[in-house]
Symmetry: C2
Subunit: 340 residues, 2 copies
Amino acid sequence: MERHATINDVAKRAGVSITTVSRILNNKPDVAPATRQRVLEVIQELDYTPHTQAQNLAAGRSRSIALLYPSESMGFSEMEFEFFVGCAQVAAKAGFLFNLIVNSVTEHGLLNLFRGSQVDGVILMEIHLRDWRVELLRDHDYPFVLIGRCQDNTGLSFIDVDFEYGMMAACEHLFSLGHRHIGFINLTDSLREQDYGPAVRSFWGYERACARFQLPIIYRDSLPTIDALFAATGDLLDAHPDLTGLVTMHCGSLVGVLRAAQKRGLVVPDDLSVMGILTDQIAQLITPPLTAISFPAQAMGSRAMRMLIRKLRDETYQAKQITLKPPLVVRESTGPVRHK
Amino acid sequence: MERHATINDVAKRAGVSITTVSRILNNKPDVAPATRQRVLEVIQELDYTPHTQAQNLAAGRSRSIALLYPSESMGFSEMEFEFFVGCAQVAAKAGFLFNLIVNSVTEHGLLNLFRGSQVDGVILMEIHLRDWRVELLRDHDYPFVLIGRCQDNTGLSFIDVDFEYGMMAACEHLFSLGHRHIGFINLTDSLREQDYGPAVRSFWGYERACARFQLPIIYRDSLPTIDALFAATGDLLDAHPDLTGLVTMHCGSLVGVLRAAQKRGLVVPDDLSVMGILTDQIAQLITPPLTAISFPAQAMGSRAMRMLIRKLRDETYQAKQITLKPPLVVRESTGPVRHK
DNA sequence: TTGTATGCGTTATCAC
DNA sequence: GTGATAACGCATACAA
């Protein structure tokens, strides 16, 4: 709470104008070496640092970027942590402040972030196929990047996981192990009907895999909680005793699947192979360590941030749309089918 | 990227001075109802919103708070996620921006956050018993709150978990189940020697419990990774075949403990009871669901943020030091001792 | 109750 | 090369 030296103090002490000091601070040309030297010394003496806030106001920017993550749906959120850290690391290295907004935002609130120069750009998470935030920001021509994507993505920058590919890859892995009755547990319909992209595309992937391998469609949906997945899995196993493989687009809560299997005396992977799509960290936490589609959350966060920052630096930067094909990591929850 | 109405535009259009507009924006008294009415209408018409950044510069504040979380040690970080969300929610409700800084910060960098009015206050995580950041901020009289605490906490505001109590409670739980040979796995010495508080105090708790119940001290330390805990546990079990209970201050990586037990044919909890200190989310993810000291991460985050905001609002606000006694939640990893 | 004038700490546009 | 001076958009002591 002390009073700090300002650019004025420096200018006076060095016997130059604030303009010159400003030039030196911003590494602009056209300043005599001797002058620069002297001013730098004074800056040292006075322990002066520029007032970021004032710099930003004058320059018409904020040097900060917000991540909008509506957190209503808190689950096993190691994944979100990785998103955050990925974003935050890149932002800091580029000299940006990173703010995290987890409350749901109103239209007014979102616009005000930009109008008040609180942020230079935002990254959106939990994108719906039709998302009012996207339309709003696009209409106003504010810089933003999506983690996830919409139905119509023309002109948008996003980074997303190819859920369709992921689910297909999971099915293919099980198929190659000899499984011919592969169940699928998706996110509950109510969310799919709200156009939640990953749920929709995951189902497509499962459908396509079944079509290609000529497998029966064995399907349930479930809320993303352990209990719900426990119930859904039980239901599915009871209805389809011939099931030997199970794929889900759920994350941590799929331990409910494992417990449902265990309750019925099924050993994973001997009697039932199980797969999901989750971060390596969480997959390793589960018993048995889960063969899974590896969700590259941190990489997505950092790449989204990089895209946004490039966009901010370069007005002409073209929208970039990245769809990552997540790798499959084999661990211990899948194995060759064993006919009963 | 449009040009927005300013307070000047509003003033002109309403035929008043900017002072009056400012008064109305800030809900100050002494403004005629009629005037207020008229100005508010103009604000509507022009779709005006105050420029937050300029407000902050003029008012000498930033209305934002940073959380400093040096993320070198990424583990199973659902816990950190909860800290973040706890902080972020409270900040947003109080009208503060929340920035997350995960990179390690230099002395200069930390000071500049304040000098440049980038933040009004900070919350520190990963506190060491002697922490240069604490001393620096205290010397400069900048507002901050700790999640965790130091050795000398005079005048500091912090919120912390009582690890000593937690470890004692864990031991007591096992003792009450009949266990008389309770091992302990702490964080590795190298970190303890760096004065990392939780490790130090956890060990105190274990020691005190052993003293009180007259138990032998059976102890190893380990890095917080699955592999390290697997190795440490194996080592401990081999050296002490009479071990029936195991307490650790580790979080997610304690699945290494469970796997070491499993490898030796020990069933948890029948042959070995295991406890840790972790969030409920992670405890439920583990198989078997873990009896654990429940780490109240989100509550700590929100309380820390509340403390800091009160401090910012009220200069006279006294330093508050909160040490939470985390509850013990019984799940399925502990049971009565079964003599071999 | 309202308005004037000054300040917040910079950057940027000119002249010189 | 360098320096006035005007923005940037708002808050606020003081005067009216």
